[in-house]
């Protein structure tokens, strides 16, 4: 299961940046996000996976597809890149990837083997304790960031309406 998800994520994320049509890029990004949600489920983080599916796959991708169709549509000429820029970008990202992978593979991490979906293995990430922690003010409580995010979302609604309105 892990191998299937990993291959799906890697191929789709490469296809997202390689494909010529921008609508197809958004579709491949959808597959990447769904594969990431599958990874969260595999790690036993059920709530995080469902948030990923709802917010990213259900919300953001739909928003992107709408905005692509509202602006330049499915015109294929969005991918004209100069060969020099492309090779420099490719070189930079390849060097970064190789450096990162080398560090990860040589570093001795605390060995942790990912088992099959293990929701019961960690009682901490049950829905009950997530809710309690998110709204508590004590040790390890997340009430302040929760409220800050709610103010941020309100500001975001007002700002988006203000920016995109017709004049």
């Amino acid at each position: 299961m892990f191998v299937v998800l990993a291959v799906l994520i890697m191929l789709s994320s490469l296809a997202t940046v390689m494909t010529k049509s921008i609508v197809r890029a958004a579709t491949y990004l959808l597959f990447v996000l769904l594969g990431t949600a599958g990874m969260y489920f595999l790690m036993g983080y059920t709530f995080l996976g469902s948030v990923q599916v709802m917010v990213y796959a259900g919300g953001i991708i739909v928003l992107y597809v709408f905005s692509i169709l509202l602006t330049e549509g499915a015109k294929d000429e969005t991918f004209k890149r100069k060969a020099k820029d492309a090779s420099w970008g490719f070189l930079l990202s390849l060097v970064g990837f190789l450096a990162f992978t080398g560090v990860v593979l040589t570093h001795q991490f605390k060995s942790y083997v990912l088992e099959a979906p293990s929701e019961t293995a960690s009682a901490v990430t049950s829905i009950n304790s997530i809710g309690t922690n998110m709204l508590s003010t004590g040790e390890g409580g997340y009430l302040l960031p929760f409220e800050a995010v709610s103010v941020l979302l309100l500001a975001c609604i007002v700002g988006a309406l203000l920016i995109a309105r017709k004049r």
């Binding site: 953001i60 905005s67 969005t78 997340y142 988006a160 309406l161």
Partner: protein, 102 residues
């Protein structure tokens, strides 16, 4: 049975695919798609490190959760800006955006 480090390799592929797209795309919406790819890779890393280092904790878990919310807000604002720009100059390619005024 999978060593959890392999998840870091997957997220590195995602991250650097995003970097490549960010550096080479010409359309601003495609650049935003690449940014989403990078943000998603960081979210996956937060969850992986939380799972690997503190299986009973939830710091990385909440960080990923709030990061998802913030990236939703970010893309909404950015898309509003793109639509506004498209209304004014009928184009959202980066090399056509020369004046940043209203």
């Amino acid at each position: 049975m999978i060593q959890i480090e392999y998840l870091l390799i997957v997220s590195a592929v995602m991250m650097f695919a995003g970097v490549f797209g960010f550096l080479t795309r010409r359309s601003t919406l495609a650049i935003l798609l690449s940014v989403e790819l990078m943000l998603n890779a960081t979210d996956l890393n937060f969850a992986v490190f939380n799972r690997m280092l503190y299986p009973d904790g939830y710091e990385g878990y909440f960080f990923a959760l709030f990061s998802i919310a913030i990236s939703a807000a970010e893309s909404a604002i950015a898309i509003a800006i793109m639509i506004n720009i498209y209304r004014m100059i009928k184009n959202i390619q980066v090399d056509e955006l020369e004046k940043m005024k209203w």
